[in-house]
Structures are given as structure tokens and as C-alpha cells.
Symmetry: C2
DNA sequence: CTGAAAGCGCTAACAG
DNA sequence: CTGTTAGCGCTTTCAG
């Protein structure tokens, strides 16, 4: 059985108050006493009981992180950065997968809200900010990669419209004229896909090109397999595209795989650009051109948001609406064949 | 401020005992009372305080998961599966990144051991099972992807020697005779790399081929960049290999990238096999041959181990030493060029 | 089936 | 600088 504060106090011949002070460092203790206590702690192999401490303090040092899926490279990289940034602030991350299911996302917010986390980062796929908010008025929530039209909740995201516009413009400036968009998700209501579509169309319009429904491909998910299938459809269509803007790198890599396997040369016959800048894209052949959101900053600023709510004035603060920078990274899939190095 | 059990009891005109019974379902309550309580709960928007419950029950429903890095595809996929399997058992996963640093791994075990998790899954890079055990005699620990020579701790892993032998044999059976091994990690002491090296050498020996130090390449980490660099070294060497066994798919993809960029044809001039079966490998061109550990089962059985310790006889159980199956998945990087489909 | 009450281990207000 | 003590919100034993 486990030693408690009281046991340590008894062994050291002091009161629990003093032991607590030594453990937390919250008040000064005379060196002699501290030493005695320290020794007692080691003898008994004492570890403070976090559950008790949490109950008392009303804070847990845990933050929740809810993403649709961890296994995909984008979320994997993002989660990694968030965990690292949280560790720097001595928070521990409690992670949940929502699989994008609406009732899972909602239940999660309700369930997690038992004073077990101090705050929640969530990357919602199907549930709106308003609904999330309704689940829990208390819990500080930061939305990731999602714009919240009503501005009810802190959120940090890239400017998807501008980024998509930039990606499409890049293809158009290369002289491509039949540019497909792969990644519409009419079944979801999280806004990301529709914003990227809007940016795509805006760029086309600026170049005086009419949107062609045949070139706008919807997908059930943003994975490689979906991109591969979408590319099959495009290549089997009437008029084959000469460029593809995929709404995720995974889609792009799947599309590229299909293209190459059908002897469509990339980028000569087909230029491809993705979105996310996952590491795979840097090492495939040809390497993938992409929009690179600043993931480091997404993680950092999201945690900063939470910190502001928790340590700062809290509820009093206005809602943060943070737009994180992105940049276009041009690689071989829109440029030329792999060079000598 | 937040409603507590007492508030609900007051509003419903019953005792806290009854409310508690309704909430946990632990004892039967008359339908009428239950209804009244239920209404009060909703009116006050009551949520049980998990910290208090944990303190009382002595269990938290949280399990810790410590991996060197989440952003790498292999760990990303594994973490995803573990989280999913944990959710099925109503556990929540608390995740930590150790970056493979020895003192981080140790401190983590100590720190996490404050009754805040009921158990811990850890994939150690630098710290031995014995050391981990020493940090905490209480906490149920399951080692992931690591063999524990002294058999002190539950662990689940593939048979790395056999798997590496199989991979190397595959290359040798293709007729390759200068087979490089990329991924030695002499600076780490986690056994994985040395076991794969042993399997590699065993296969060579069986074919009567002497190990060549020039073909055994050490790397600082298992990432694509390391594989790319290793390949440069090999291609710049005296006698170029005709096959590569990389200790991870990431290394393999990095190596492949370098090979292709230097106009070495894969698989004609150089066959490549990886280890892990990450999703990227299925969609690159050429697609990557690999050893596929059953990740699903790793997750499932690791959690089963914990469940046995926590719900079953606990400490009384003998140490589990679980070997998870793997299989060789042959794709284009050791077979032929991408076919028509 | 329900109520009263005793803590779980810790922190912090209060008092020396 | 140190001791005493009142809870944090919940579960659960013991009575009714």
C-alpha cells in the first residue's frame, strides 16, 4: 500500500502542512526540516496523489485533444506538436478520436467535461461550433482548423480560401487550363472543404475560366485511397485534366499513384498540388508541391489560447480568431523531374 | 459555478446516496425517484466530478501511453489503434512523447505514477525494462515493441529476428547478393535494431554470405532523411549494393528517394524492403515491399494485458510475453515496375 | 429502497 | 517558519 502525506509527516516528525510545502515548494521551509522531510519521502517512496490534488485545486493539468483520426499523417504531425507544446507548459494531453462522427464529437465534449480536463482542443468534422458550445458552457474550448462563422469560440486555422486560391493560381500560372479539384465533402459541415472549393473557384474566375462540375470531385474521406479512386474517375472522364488541386496531401499522393500507374507523367501531363505538407510528400518521386500550413504555430497558438483562458482573465477575454500563416511549397510535382540531387 | 451531487439531491428532495445511485446505476432506485432525480440533474446540468470520483474509487479510467514520437507514421498508426481500442474499453489515453531520451522516459514513469493513470503502455527507446520497473513497482506497465530479456514486465512485440531474417531471405531469393542493412542504432539500447541486425546476418549466413561492415549502415534516427543520407553513402561507396533491407519503412522511403534521384532503378538495379508497413509505402511509386507487423493486434493485446492486471488477479499473474505475428508483403520495390493497374 | 455520515489525500486559510 | 483543521465532491458502509 501507498504512503500518504500523513505517513511522511509522521515519519519526519512534522505536520502535513510542512510536507506539503516541501513537495509543492509553495512556502519556504527551513533547510534542516526540508532535509528531514526529503529523506522521509524517499524512504517511503512517496508520490503525491494527483486525484486528491486535483480535487482540491480544481485544476488537473490535463487538456483534452480531440481529432477525427490520429493515424493520418497530418493529424499525426499536428498531435505530435501539440503534445510537445503542452509538455513545455507542464500540461498532459488526453487524446480522443472522434472519427468525425457527430454524436461522438458531441458526447466527447459532454463526457470530458467532468473537471477532468482544464481545457479542450478539438478539430471538429461534423459538429458546428455552436453545438459544441452548447454542450459545455464552462469548459474552455479551442477549435482547430475550423472557422467558426458565429465567432462563439476561440479558433485557430489557416485562411483556407486564400490558400486554395493560391494553390489554384499556381497551377494556372503554369499554363494549365483544366484544373480539377479533388476533395469536396458535401456530407460534412465543417466548412474546410467548402472554403477550399471557394478559393479554387475564385482563382478560376480570376483567370476567366468557368467551373466545370466534372472536375470537382467529392470524396468520402481525405485518404490516399480516396485520391486514387478520384484520379481513376478523372482519367476515365471525357476530357482529362492537366492539373489537380487536391484538398489534402494524402489525396494528392493517391492521385499521383494512380496517374503514374496509368502512365500519365507527373508533372508533364498532369501537375499535382496538395495541401498540408506532410512529410511523405517531400520524399515521393516526384516530390509533391503543396500548401504548407504552419503546424508549429497552430499548436503553439492554440495552447496559448487555452493558457489565456486558464491563467489570464478567462471568460472576460474576447473570442480569439487566429489565422495562422501558410505558404506555397513548390516541388517536383508541378515543376520538373527529380534533379540530379 | 457548478452543481454538485448535494445540489441535485436538494433539488430532487432526496439524499445524495440516491442521486449517486441514479448516476452510477450501482443500486436500484424506484422509477418515480429516479425520474425526479433525472430531472433535477438536467435542470442543474449536473456532471459528476471525475477527480472526486477517482479519489474515492482509487481508479481513474486513464491509461498512459508513452512513445518516442507521435508524428512518425508508424507510431501515428499505432497510437491511433491504441486509442481506438482503449475507447472500446472506456479508457481514456493520456499521451506523452519521450523523444527517446532516457531521462525523459524515466521521469515520465515516475511522474505519471501518481495514481493518475491506472496503467502504462510504453515504447522505450533508451531505457531498459529493469530500469522502468525500478521507477514504479506499483504501476502495471506493458512494454511495446521491445523484448525484455529478463522477463520482468509484460511486453508485446513481433519476433524481430525472425522478421528480419525473412526480409533478408526474400532479397537473397531474388538473387541479390550485396544486401545492405540500413538502420543500426548502436547508441540506443532498446534491442530492436540489434535484433533486426541479428536476423539479417543469420539470413546472410544461411546463404553462405559473409557480413560486410560497409553494408551495415548506422543511423541517428529512423526517419526518411536518415534513410536518404544512408543511401547516398552506399551509392558513393566502393561496391554498390543491389538490395537494401531498411529497418523501417521511413528509412526505406528515404533510401528509395535518393536512389531514384540518382537514376538507380528500383527494383531493377536496387531492390528495397522496409519494415512497419506504413500507409505511405502502399502509394509510392514503386510501392514498397515491407514486413507488416499486426498493429491491430499489438494494440489489442497490449490493452488486454493491462485489463488482466487491473480487473483480473493483478500482480498474481505471470509476466506476459506476447509475440505478435507479422508477414512479408511483397510490392513493387522488390518485384517489377508498376503494372497497368 | 433510502438516509446519515465517514472518509479518499491533499491544499490553504487561519492561527500561532 | 510550522501546526491545526476544514473541506474539495464523491462513494459506500451502516442503519433504518
Amino acid at each position: 500500500v501507498r504512503a500518504s502525506l500523513k505517513d511522511v509527516a509522521a515519519l519526519a516528525g512534522v505536520s502535513v502542512r510542512t510536507v506539503s510545502n516541501v513537495v509543492t515548494g509553495s512556502a519556504s521551509v527551513s533547510p534542516a526540516t526540508r532535509d528531514r522531510v526529503q529523506r522521509a519521502i524517499e524512504t517511503l517512496n512517496y508520490r503525491p496523489n494527483l486525484a486528491a490534488r486535483n480535487l482540491r485545486r480544481g485544476r488537473t493539468g490535463l487538456i483534452g485533444l480531440a481529432v477525427p483520426e490520429i493515424h493520418s499523417p497530418y493529424f499525426g504531425e499536428l498531435v505530435g506538436r501539440i503534445v510537445a507544446a503542452a509538455q513545455e507548459r507542464s500540461w498532459t494531453v488526453l487524446i480522443e478520436q472522434t472519427a468525425g462522427a457527430p454524436e461522438r464529437e458531441r458526447r466527447l465534449v459532454e463526457g470530458i467535461d467532468g473537471q477532468i480536463v482544464d481545457g479542450l482542443l478539438i478539430s471538429p468534422w461534423s459538429v458546428s461550433a455552436a453545438e459544441l458550445r452548447a454542450c459545455s458552457a464552462e469548459l474552455p474550448i479551442v477549435l482547430l482548423g475550423e472557422r467558426d462563422p458565429e465567432g462563439l469560440t476561440d479558433h485557430v486555422a489557416v485562411d483556407n480560401v486564400a490558400a486554395a486560391d493560391q494553390a489554384t493560381t499556381h497551377l494556372l500560372e503554369l499554363g494549365r487550363r483544366r484544373v480539377a479539384a479533388v476533395g469536396l465533402q458535401p456530407h460534412l459541415d465543417n466548412g474546410t472543404a467548402s472554403q477550399r472549393l471557394a478559393g479554387y473557384r475564385r482563382a478560376l474566375a480570376r483567370f476567366g475560366i468557368a467551373a466545370d462540375p466534372e472536375l470537382e470531385i467529392a470524396v468520402p474521406a481525405l485518404h490516399r485511397a480516396d485520391g486514387a479512386r478520384a484520379m481513376w474517375r478523372l482519367l476515365d472522364g471525357e476530357r482529362v485534366p492537366d492539373a489537380v488541386f487536391a484538398f489534402s496531401d494524402e489525396l494528392a499522393l493517391g492521385a499521383q499513384r494512380t496517374a503514374l500507374s496509368r502512365s500519365v507523367r507527373v508533372p508533364q501531363d498532369l501537375a499535382i498540388i496538395g495541401f498540408d505538407d506532410i512529410e511523405d510528400g517531400r520524399y515521393t518521386t516526384p516530390a509533391l508541391t503543396t500548401i504548407s500550413p504552419d503546424k508549429e504555430q497552430i499548436a503553439e497558438r492554440a495552447l496559448q489560447c487555452l493558457a489565456d483562458r486558464l491563467h489570464g482573465p478567462g471568460r472576460g477575454l474576447p473570442v480569439h480568431r487566429i489565422v495562422v500563416p501558410h505558404r506555397l511549397v513548390v516541388r517536383e510535382s508541378t515543376r520538373g523531374m527529380p534533379a540530379g540531387r
